[in-house]
Subunit: 338 residues, 2 copies
């Protein structure tokens, strides 16, 4: 029996087109069902158009679940969650909570998605603060899972320990890393390096059974395969993530400017186009299918606002893999033992 | 009267070659004198060789000041500073303290350089913690000065306010930015976004006269010209800096791999070589000449360990500009007023 993933059809910058096309792509290439949430009068005709005029649902396992409102990128998370009680996010997450669907994906407002997931799904037992985890591209081998990247500031050592357990379980069961190496993000490899939070956390992580803790790692280790899971306070993780995005943007801007400068280099750029596309694909966050929210009672994946159809499909794939892996029961079992 | 800059000739990965060639380059192109510190029996013949066998000093204003020891990259900062009392760093910084030279540059062990500078030069009055500032490359316009990037963890709001004043003074007097915009590194633009440190610091920065505070900025704003000076705790700044370096490395690795993949793209890469060089140059930290240490009683610039001759020359140039600008008296005057 295939899993059904709910897609917030009103989340991305190009909603609902990206979501609808991504859902179609997913249903055609993966063994999943999709429920799209959003206003039926918008989604039904858009889905029919995307399917080339054929009656929707005739062939593909896609259904529409009506939600009269949606949260925009400009909405303040806290107030939008309170005021928009029939949003496509909330309706979607309710389906998961009620067991009517197996996982949820949104490319919408990250803050609102996290707040809604916490409220609707609730936390796993033993988890003080759910965390957002993101996959960083890597030079060699397995990319690293970084958490937390934005949900929690002013974390304490217990929070980081829970992040380590949750990230470890996700890496093992969803990313299929056999004995995931867990690093603590700091400013030097030696145990003595870091701030008071990392110095207090490090000795505790060394005592936790069931995780493969390798000690402190640095910012550059996010991309070089040193660790499979890297834990940090959400303020630090969010700064690291947005700094990475900033550098990637700077690089592509600068490269484009440089390649425009002479005719010779324009010809060169033309000849290298396939290579550049492979290069961009490797650095493209959308290839990795979005950030799992760990520690909530259910499956919730948050994608980038600029997600295209392929990114949405990847998000649905990740949600399906997460739902099938039963990560959450493993997290609860591991945290009970601590 | 030209300023004299002391160069730790034993600092970089390719010491003393990079330092000697950088000193020669600086003396030939800039109006500066250079003193090289390190073992005379190593430096004297190396300088003569670099000058093509001519007796050194005959033409160029370069002198050698003997120091019997040097600190390596593998040395622990704290113990090296204590045990190596005649290191090239310490001898060099003493020349600055005693007024026998105007500024100091090293491409050596950053931690040791900071500790030695604090010990030998001492702090400016009103400065609780000196900070290391680095220049981030930018897409448009003026690159941003980020501080602190490694000297201080667990900062309090007063520290960040002092960083803002010091960075502002440096940007105005050395980088020649007329009314430098100061941002506070956080995880969202709104005043309410951030951790307890940034939320406590923000209202204080709004009240400080003499700085042009523009509010919170995010990780991506390090590279897009939003602010001229960006302040943060040293743990956060160091993570951001090393994350940037990691992304830059990932990008050049991935690009190289992609361009090797087909003959067509190899030809393309060849034709685009000038553009790639321009691109790499723009992203190259060494072009910016090293990181000023702000808040110590004197001029101290720390360069990258991989500095080549050009990077050393740029470091000497920055040290000379810093020495001529009298930033430090400005910092003390501004902090007295707070």
């Amino acid at each position: 029996m295939p899993v059904e993933i709910v897609v917030d059809a009103m989340g991305s910058d190009k909603a609902p087109e990206s979501e609808i096309r991504g859902a179609i792509l997913a249903c055609r290439t993966l063994d999943v069902h999709v429920a799209l949430t959003g206003p039926e009068d918008i989604l039904a005709p858009a889905l029919e158009t995307a399917l080339g005029g054929r009656r929707f649902g005739a062939r593909l396992p896609i259904r529409i679940v009506h939600a009269s409102e949606w949260i925009t990128m400009d909405d303040k998370a806290a107030s939008a969650v309170r005021s928009k009680r029939d949003s496509s996010m909330r309706v979607g997450l309710k389906l998961v909570r009620e067991g009517k669907a197996d996982g949820f994906f949104t490319a919408g407002n990250t803050g609102a998605a996290m707040a809604t997931a916490k409220m609707v799904l609730g936390g796993l037992s033993g988890v003080d603060r759910p965390a957002l985890a993101t996959i960083m591209p890597s030079m060699y081998g397995q990319p690293a899972l970084l958490l937390d990247v934005g949900a929690n500031v002013d974390s304490d050592p217990e929070n980081l320990v829970q992040f380590a357990v949750m990230g470890s379980m996700y890496a093992r069961n969803v990313l299929k890393v056999s004995n995931p190496r867990v690093g603590l993000l700091s400013i030097g490899e030696e145990d003595s390096k870091g701030n008071s939070l990392t110095r207090d956390t490090l000795p505790i992580l060394r005592t936790i059974k069931g995780i493969n803790f390798i000690g402190n790692v640095e910012g550059r280790d996010l991309f070089n395969g040193t660790a499979d899971v890297i834990v940090c306070d959400g303020f630090v993780g969010n700064v690291a993530l947005k700094t990475s995005e900033g550098v990637a943007k700077l690089v592509s801007f600068t490269l484009r400017e440089s390649l425009k400068s002479t005719v010779t280099s324009q010809v060169g750029a033309l000849l290298s186009r396939t290579a550049f596309n492979a290069f961009k694909k490797r650095l493209d966050y959308s290839e990795y299918g979005g950030a799992p929210m760990l520690g909530v009672r259910g499956v919730c994946i948050v994608g980038h606002g600029s997600s295209n159809d392929k990114a949405v499909m990847n998000g649905i794939r990740v949600a399906a893999e997460f739902a099938q892996a039963e990560v959450n029961s493993g997290i609860e079992a591991a945290l009970v033992k601590l």
